[in-house]
């Protein structure tokens, strides 16, 4: 009898719920997330303001939706940058091997030895803050880990019989790499993508929390958490809800990744 994959079931449901919740924020928020209201300063959660209001009287529910949306877009963009370049570099290095491969992997090792958030902070120090710069900084720093993952998979497959026979049949190398080998690696890459997504969400949130994230005009979960600290005791809802959104999103995606890994085994 096949054991039920609880990780995948729970994770998918949780992730889907969070994505629907965040997607809602792209089309509709109950209030303007930037609108100030002196009357509602630090208002408690109620039917008018589901998550309450912050110290400037802004609706926490609207701001959470908006900030989560920004976080999601940044995380997906970072993932796209890191994944596309990581895939190309990893696939070519893994398939061909040789001196270029060895050199590229040394550089990757040197970069991954550092905490990505610290390097991202350095890049931001050099090119300045802002949404696009964060995507660029984190995206570049995510390339080595993906490259290494993809490379490992390609090394595993490159001496298999089906690759040899394809090569003997005269299939061009690019076709072998992307049509013959790549589909086999999807499960591993997918589980790597879930880890990368979570790292991107956590890095973005940490950087915004430290005040070197997205521009001051955009709502962001990290900055909400940093602003909420001053009224942590009197108005815990300013901190609680953005924190819950980050935790649940990361939890859901993490469980999906765990589920995929369990299925591979």
């Amino acid at each position: 009898m096949k054991k039920r994959n609880w990780y995948l079931t729970f994770g998918s449901v949780l992730t889907a719920c969070m994505l629907v919740f965040i997607a809602l924020g792209f089309f509709w928020t109950p209030y303007d997330p930037g609108a100030l209201s002196a009357r509602d300063k630090l208002a408690e959660p109620s039917l008018q303001h589901l998550f309450g209001c912050d110290q400037l009287g802004r609706d926490v529910f609207s701001r959470t939706l908006n900030g989560a949306g920004n976080t999601l877009i940044i995380a997906l963009a970072v993932l796209a940058v890191g994944f596309v370049f990581g895939l190309l570099i990893g696939a070519l290095c893994g398939y061909y091997g040789g001196a270029v491969d060895a050199t590229v992997m040394r550089v990757c090792d040197a970069i991954t030895a550092f905490p990505s958030i610290l390097l991202a902070m350095v890049v931001i120090a050099i090119i300045g803050p802002g949404t696009y710069n964060i995507i660029a900084a984190l995206g570049i720093l995510f390339i080595p880990s993906f490259a290494r993952l993809v490379r490992g998979e390609f090394i595993k497959y490159r001496s298999r019989d089906f690759v040899h026979s394809a090569r003997l049949a005269g299939v061009p190398a690019m076709r072998i790499i992307f049509v013959h080998i790549l589909p086999n690696t999807w499960p591993v890459l997918l589980s790597g993508l879930t880890i990368g997504f979570n790292n991107a969400v956590l890095s973005e949130a940490s950087m915004s929390f430290l005040g070197i994230g997205v521009g001051p005009a955009d709502a962001s979960l990290g900055r909400m958490l940093s602003e909420g600290q001053s009224s942590l005791f009197s108005a815990p809802w300013c901190t609680l809800f953005p924190a819950l959104v980050v935790i649940l999103l990361v939890l859901g995606v993490g469980m999906v990744g765990e589920g995929i890994r369990e299925r591979i085994r």
Binding site: P115, L232, F233
Partner: protein
Amino acid sequence: MLKTICKRLGLLVLTLLLVTALAFFAFSIIPGDPTDTILGLEATEQQVAALRAELGLDLPLPVRYFRWLGDFLRGDLGVSYNFDIPVTDLLAGRIAPTFTLTLMAAVLIVLFSIPLGLLAARYEGGWIDRILTVINQIAMSVPNFVMGISLVFLFGLVLHWFQPGGYVSPESGLGSYLWFMLFPSLAVALPKSAMTIKMLRGSVLTELTADYIRTAYSKGNSRASALWRHVLRNAMIPVVTFLATTIAELVAGSIVVEQVFAIPGLGQMLISSISNRDYPVVQAIIVLVAFVVVLCNFLADALYRVMDPRLKGR
């Protein structure tokens, strides 16, 4: 054996050179000249040229790198643009809190994860294991600064076990300093402990299926004594590697969590220097962290070899 040590040391020096070179060149491609920051925009060309010569900016890049590296190794980390005092003086008092925080977090991770990881593996599938798995999965999803905020709320604001934002310096009593630092180190350690517990559990369970364990059972060992006497040593090998790579994350975590607890450490300095574009300070902190990370990886590699004699001579 001696050959291996020499090879490893050579590799260590090479890595350190690579890392410092990266840190140096990254900061030398920044558009704009430090003289603009120091002299302001209204400086005359002669003033700029004089300062460039004084700072050595007119020399070729590789020459500047080796000069900078030489100064760095002698403890001269340059002069802060913003405060106009040596970076060494600026950082001197700030290394201790960050170092304490990282070290305490590392100790806490080991204290939590080894007993709990073994417990989960010992009673695999039982209720202890299941509860730990659920708690682990949740703890891994909590960012360290959110963990920090939660600890401030629970232990600082509700239970009044410590004064939130009231940093206690080591001069005013070692005990109260360590007590205050316990909470930020918990914030750094808890999510990482969850990962380590999971890692150790998996590693122990893999080892338990090995042939030598069947032999140990057949000699009359119970599951517990097989775990203690035979499995632990082997199962610890991947965990040690994991912990070594975690050191880098711990330093980064400490830097973020310092902000939550208002600890005047390297993190505060780094973030204000980034906002003020005080590049010599940023550069110095990054290179310091790099040194620590590379050295820790080196030590872990050495430990790995001691723990696994099969690797000797490789």
